[in-house]
């Protein structure tokens, strides 16, 4: 009994973290029509920034926010000066992000060495929830709360502000949006920066849970990909729902079918792509 309860609660916790990872990815994919193959790198680099800030004694939440801001700047610069040169050419843009992921991975290795880092859980949030034989770390539930807050903030941004309306217009139909005067190119930069910042923020938040180590970019990226494919490209609701579905699939799948561990996540992804490419909540990608 306590096994299933632990798995269920952990599924929600993992889902929350996956949302922080995937929300940005979904927005970028929806608006710019490219799977950002350096998204995992943003997550990892952000986590490393967080590690350095924490080593300097910064408050945990401040470190996470600062890391997000720093990555947003970096993401914005990359978009503005490199991706934009290739505007309209999706394939080279995807490949550019792939090339950058190699660069960032090696830079992280150079600067932070190959040793793993795991910052301590923020002091006020240590401790565990003990109910019905279940012993569950409090911090992971806090991650869910953070994910919900971020989800609400993004929803307000996208559904209730003019900027959000412009983004939605760009996602729906970029050429027409341009024609009515929406500066889609500038939106690209903004959304890319926002996505990068969200990923980095998520990386720091996740660091006490997942630790920070070389190679985590290659582990996180497929998860973001699966969440967004399942939930639907460009849909925040889809990213939210998809994150929790994948959280459950991961936890229960690993426990019940350990031999299918690698397959358990990619098989549903193939099924979705083949049978319903727009995912649960998305619109199709042309």
């Amino acid at each position: 009994m306590s096994l299933w309860l632990t798995l269920a609660v952990n599924s929600i916790a993992l889902g929350g973290l996956l949302f922080l990872l995937s929300a940005g990815f979904s927005l970028i994919f929806g608006l710019m029509r490219i799977p950002n193959l350096m998204h995992g790198s943003f997550f990892m680099l952000g986590a490393y920034f967080g590690v350095t800030f924490l080593e300097r004694g910064l408050d945990f939440w401040l470190a996470a926010l600062l890391s997000g801001v720093a990555m947003a700047l970096i993401g914005g610069l990359i978009e503005r000066f490199l991706l934009k040169r290739l505007s309209g050419q999706e394939l080279p843009q995807v490949l550019l992000t792939l090339g950058f992921s190699f660069i960032i991975a090696d830079l992280c290795l150079m600067i932070w060495t190959g040793d793993p880092w795991q910052p301590a859980t923020p002091a006020e949030l240590r401790g565990a929830l003990q109910i019905a034989g279940l012993f569950f770390p409090l911090y992971r539930l806090v991650i869910v709360a953070v994910a919900v807050v971020v989800a609400i903030a993004l929803w307000l941004l996208v559904d209730w502000t003019r900027l959000g309306a412009k983004i939605r217009a760009g996602v729906d139909d970029a050429p027409i949006a341009r024609m009515v005067g929406i500066p889609v190119s500038r939106l690209f930069t903004l959304v890319f920066a926002l996505g990068a910042g969200l990923a980095a923020f998520g990386g720091v938040i996740g660091a006490p849970y997942l630790s920070v180590y070389p190679g985590m970019d290659a582990e996180m990226l497929p998860l973001a990909l699966i969440v967004v494919i399942l939930g639907g490209i460009g849909s925040l609701v889809g990213a939210f729902v998809g994150s929790f579905v994948i959280g459950f699939l991961y936890n229960f799948g690993q426990a019940m079918f350990p031999d299918l561990a690698y397959v358990i996540l990619f098989l549903p992804m193939v099924l979705v792509l083949v049978l319903r490419p727009q995912g649960l909540f998305g619109r199709g990608v042309s």
Binding site: R85, E90, L95, G99, D106, P222, Y262, M269
Partner: protein, 328 residues
């Protein structure tokens, strides 16, 4: 007509250099590097069929590469002869390519990319996890290389010539393919799929056959790889490998024949030779690719050809490498 003479001359010079390579490269280490360049060039040429001429970018080809290698290695270990093992390997790879094609050709563009990526990951996971079949991460050793017409391929030079022969066959078949009516219709499906459909061509079937052709040569390259290393392990089927082959194609130049060869040379030389002198070679490799993609999006060969002909200003001209690819 004027352009043909330099091109033939270039091919002639290259042929002479390649044929005599073991005599002017003294060290067997560099002969082995040349073998590696050529075998990866075959893989890159194979992927180029889909990417450059079909407009379909696959990130799952490492799975096909590895499937051929594993099939041959496991059959050899079970005691079968080289001929039987190789034949079975290619046949099985074609089967797997067909399955990949059926699943992924339901879409094009980014969705196609992601389906192939996912399929590649699934096969990698199987190679890793199904240890009772594949021996997992311990890998499979291949005791001997085959004998071609009684000549042992154990030495670097002999193996080099065998790889060169296969490479030449691959290059010729690619050239024939590209110049043929089928090649033209494949390019048609890349540039104007809807019109091709309207004209009565079976776009899906054309792409399917192209996928099989690509899978065939990818499998051949996989065989060359497993014979070169005499070892195979699941890592060869990871996403990293697919990405490297793709980068070879893209960096060299997608819709050319020489491009993938140049791309293969860049990657192999960086990984194996430059890495001896530059500690952060991975970083340099990433930077080179970013530069090539930023400034010469249709590849190094077409890009440098443009500089040669029109000077540095040509780089600033926008070149369209849309999903449709570049017209030859």
């Amino acid at each position: 007509m004027k352009r043909r003479v330099p091109r033939f001359a270039a091919i002639g010079v290259a042929a002479v250099l390649l044929l005599t390579l073991p005599s002017w490269i003294a060290n067997s280490y560099y002969v082995n590097i040349a073998s590696q360049i050529l075998l990866w060039a075959v893989a890159a040429l194979a992927l180029n069929v889909l990417v450059g001429y079909g407009g379909l970018v696959s990130l799952g080809h490492a799975a096909l590469f590895g499937t051929a290698g594993y099939t041959a290695a496991l059959l050899l270990q079970a005691g079968h002869g080289h001929f039987a093992a190789d034949l079975a390997a290619i046949a099985f790879t074609l089967l797997v390519s067909a399955v990949f094609a059926v699943l992924s050709l339901r879409s094009t563009g980014i969705i196609f990319l992601m389906i192939t990526l996912a399929l590649g990951q699934i096969l990698w996971g199987i190679a890793y996890r199904w240890a009772s079949l594949t021996q997992g991460d311990n890998g499979v050793n291949v005791a001997t290389r085959p004998q071609l017409f009684g000549i042992s391929l154990a030495t670097a030079d002999a193996f080099y010539y065998a790889v060169l022969a296969v490479f030449v066959l691959a290059a010729i078949s690619m050239a024939i393919f590209v110049g043929s009516p089928f090649g033209a219709s494949l390019r048609g499906t890349r540039d104007q799929a809807r019109r091709m459909n309207a004209l009565g061509y079976n776009v899906w079937l054309i792409r399917f056959i192209a996928f099989l052709f690509s899978g065939f040569w990818t499998g051949v390259a996989g065989l060359l790889f497993v014979y070169y290393n005499q070892f195979i392990s699941p890592q060869i089927m990871a996403l990293q490998t697919s990405a490297e082959i793709l980068l070879m194609v893209i960096s060299g130049g997608t819709a050319t024949l020489v491009g993938p060869i140049a791309g293969a040379a860049i990657v192999v030389v960086m990984k194996n030779v430059i890495s001896a002198y530059v500690e952060r070679w991975n970083l340099v490799l990433g930077v080179i690719f970013v530069l090539i993609i930023s400034f010469m999006p249709d590849g190094l060969i077409p890009g440098t050809t443009r500089i040669w002909r029109h000077g540095w200003r040509a780089l600033r001209a926008r070149v369209a490498l849309s999903r449709a690819g570049r017209a030859p």
